[in-house]
Symmetry: C2
């Protein structure tokens, strides 16, 4: 297949991947598949996240009047309109009092749910910041102080969450506990590598593996026990009410269902690529690491397909996903997906019928209006600027803008991280 065809096909494969991550379709499909909705007395909808408005709207479309009440915290400016579910605009990425007030309302809805009710929980990326519920005696500012100190110390996401879950009232399975004895169904759009239920939105409906002791251990590891606000330290040391743990009876009535994720989008891409006639495989959906090195490895696979027909004979499509990291070295404008395409361009230069595409599923790659970019064997020679130089300056945006090879989707309203495609015709 000619490069022109590869470009068309890559765009179609990307579209299929984005469709699978569409919050509206994902929620509607998940609800339509359920056979138990009629048996509940009331359906109450709660949740939070950057896709909250779209997810709530989709739930209303399917459930209509079955929804008795609902509160979902959304990002300031979310354009979605709903009738039965109240959307609460909140601060993001820095949580604010509106978020805390919305979280209190969500807690109220959960607390009022009875044994014959269904609490439908809609979770997407950003839920943790959009649904802040500091434990009694701790202010939002104090909780944020603790978070900032941990981040600055280099704590991992798991360490950070161990602390946060123990100074909050909804995170770490506590929302599910509040909703008991109602049935809880969480529809979750995952924006984290690996789709760990207790990481996405800090796991409001998932069992928590960490304890107060874990949280204190994290503080001590980074020498922060004396540095966090006194209210935080005291709560952790008091260790009064543990977060719910796996195996606790309440989880018998809790279902956590991932309705959109990088993996699901890769599988949709795989199906699309196969239907277009490509021998196709998914490499991995949890790829992290320095963008340019990950990109070079994808380019090496492209060369291998071209030269040796390994791991697949052409026409071939290799699909992967995750979230890489750019170490900023220059002052140029770009994003990790555009940088991915630029680094790959250098390593596939001169190859016939080879295409590499990288795109963020949220449609916004770094501080740009592009989702990503694509590169072929002629990219490096077609550009008027030096690719190596542009890469050194992290100036991928201008580089691909000149070539007309930015991938522009506009904001997609979803986020299941990034997608990488290697096509060899």
């Amino acid at each position: 297949m000619e490069v022109k065809q590869l470009r068309k096909d890559a765009a179609a494969i990307l579209r299929a991947a984005l469709k699978a991550a569409d919050p509206s379709e994902a929620v509607a499909a998940a609800l339509r598949r359920r056979r138990d909705l009629d048996k509940y007395e009331r359906i109450l909808v709660v949740g939070a996240g950057k896709a909250g408005g779209t997810m709530a709207r989709a739930a209303e479309k399917v459930l209509g009047k079955r929804i008795a009440a609902g509160v979902v915290n959304v990002k300031d400016g979310d354009p979605a309109k709903t009738r039965r579910i109240e959307l609460v605009p909140c601060g993001h990425p820095v949580p604010d009092e509106r978020g805390a007030a919305g979280a209190a309302r969500i807690a109220e809805v959960c607390a009022k749910a009875g044994p014959r009710d269904l609490v439908l929980c809609l979770i997407s990326g950003g839920a943790s910041a959009l649904m802040p519920a500091p434990a009694e005696g701790i202010t939002l500012a104090e909780k944020q102080d603790a978070t900032r100190l941990l981040l600055a110390s280099g704590a991992t996401i798991h360490e950070l969450n161990a602390v946060r879950k123990h100074i909050s009232t909804l995170k770490g399975g506590q929302l599910a506990r509040l909703a008991a004895p109602a049935k809880v169904v969480s529809l979750i759009l995952s924006d984290v590598v690996g789709d760990d239920l207790d990481v996405i939105g800090s796991g409001p409906t998932a069992p928590d593996a960490s304890t107060f002791a874990t949280a204190l251990g994290v503080l001590d590891k980074y020498g922060l026990r004396g540095k966090v606000p006194g209210s935080v330290r005291e709560r952790l040391e008091r260790a009064e009410t543990e977060t719910p743990k796996a195996g606790e009876r309440l989880f018998a009535k809790v279902e956590n269902q991932i309705v959109g994720s990088n993996q699901k989008s890769l599988e949709a891409a795989l199906a699309a690529a196969k239907s277009l006639g490509y021998r196709s495989l998914i490499l991995a959906s949890t790829i992290e690491g320095e963008t340019r090195d990950v990109a070079r490895m994808h380019a090496a696979i492209a060369r291998q397909i071209r030269e040796y027909g390994q791991p697949l004979k052409s026409p071939a499509c290799v699909i992967s996903g995750g979230e890489t990291t750019v170490t900023i070295r220059g002052s140029g404008k770009g994003g990790r997906n555009q940088e991915f395409a630029l680094a790959a361009a250098l390593d596939i230069a001169g190859l016939d019928r080879v295409l590499v595409l990288s795109a963020g599923t949220d449609g916004t790659d770094g501080p740009t209006d592009a989702a990503g970019a694509l590169a072929d064997g002629a990219t490096v020679t077609r550009a008027s600027t030096d690719a190596r130089q542009a890469l050194a300056e992290n100036a991928s945006y201008a580089y691909f803008a000149e070539l007309g090879d930015l991938v522009i989707t506009g904001p997609t309203g979803t986020n299941v991280m990034d997608l990488h495609l290697v096509l060899v015709g």
Copy 2:
């Protein structure tokens, strides 16, 4: 399959890969496959490289008295013993006068070859430094000066070679031209990514794509025309005798045959893995980039196999190769293959029946007596030291030494770069 079995199998797969790269077996097999050896009047053997002694010895074993004369430049201390081919011990990696004297003898042998003779050329890693032949009027020291300046300026290997080939008398196809009108068969053990014939040993029997103008362009690009020794500049500006180019008649009687390479070793590994019952694939044989990021991507593939049966269902073996680079951040002892295993260990921690092995085919990884190391899902918890800390200090050797998980082969006498294995049982 249990981890214990995976370890055994990985060792067997590595052995198969090393066997395919064994210079002795590679040369013997290539010569035994030829049907034309009887038709030449004389067989003259020349060459250079770190595997030169072993390759020469293998040629003698097959050809015996058919060899009329021979000179092969080898690394100081090469233990091989030969009867008909003279082995000339030379300096490496810094070329010396012994190398230049040997190169002059090699040129003599080639020059005396007639139209009914066969010149058998044995090339392996290090050949470029071991067979220095500065052009008339240029001293070895001046040639090295130019090389050093180019390296310090960040010139690529192709740029460096364009200059070197034009200030030498054997590189860039010139050995083949000297040997004309004899038949020339080059048996080549490739230690470079991509196996470019004009890069391995600076391509003494391969057409040269670069010209005097290319070489001057390189000097100008890095502002070195006024800085290289006058003799070098003058020769390039005089531009008297071009290196031989593709399509020139002399190459009709030249055969360049890669007898050992990363790709060949990966294919041997693939066959071994399949025969052990693993669903197997070769990912790529030209992987470069920062070691830990490449390793993390391999770990992501391991997780994908474990969790989703993609790109292969278990038992699965993913094979790759190339030469990664460690950016030294700490002061620990290690090598890129041991660092590969360490970085992977962190990302496969906790996984059942997963093994990652990385090894240098020369048996010497960095300044250590190990070829590499292997990691499984329990590596991180079995060690008494912190894996993240060890990685930050580039201290992979001590880390794996404690666990007994170094891969020790001893020096193998070959070098086709590195091998990476991911096994999931």
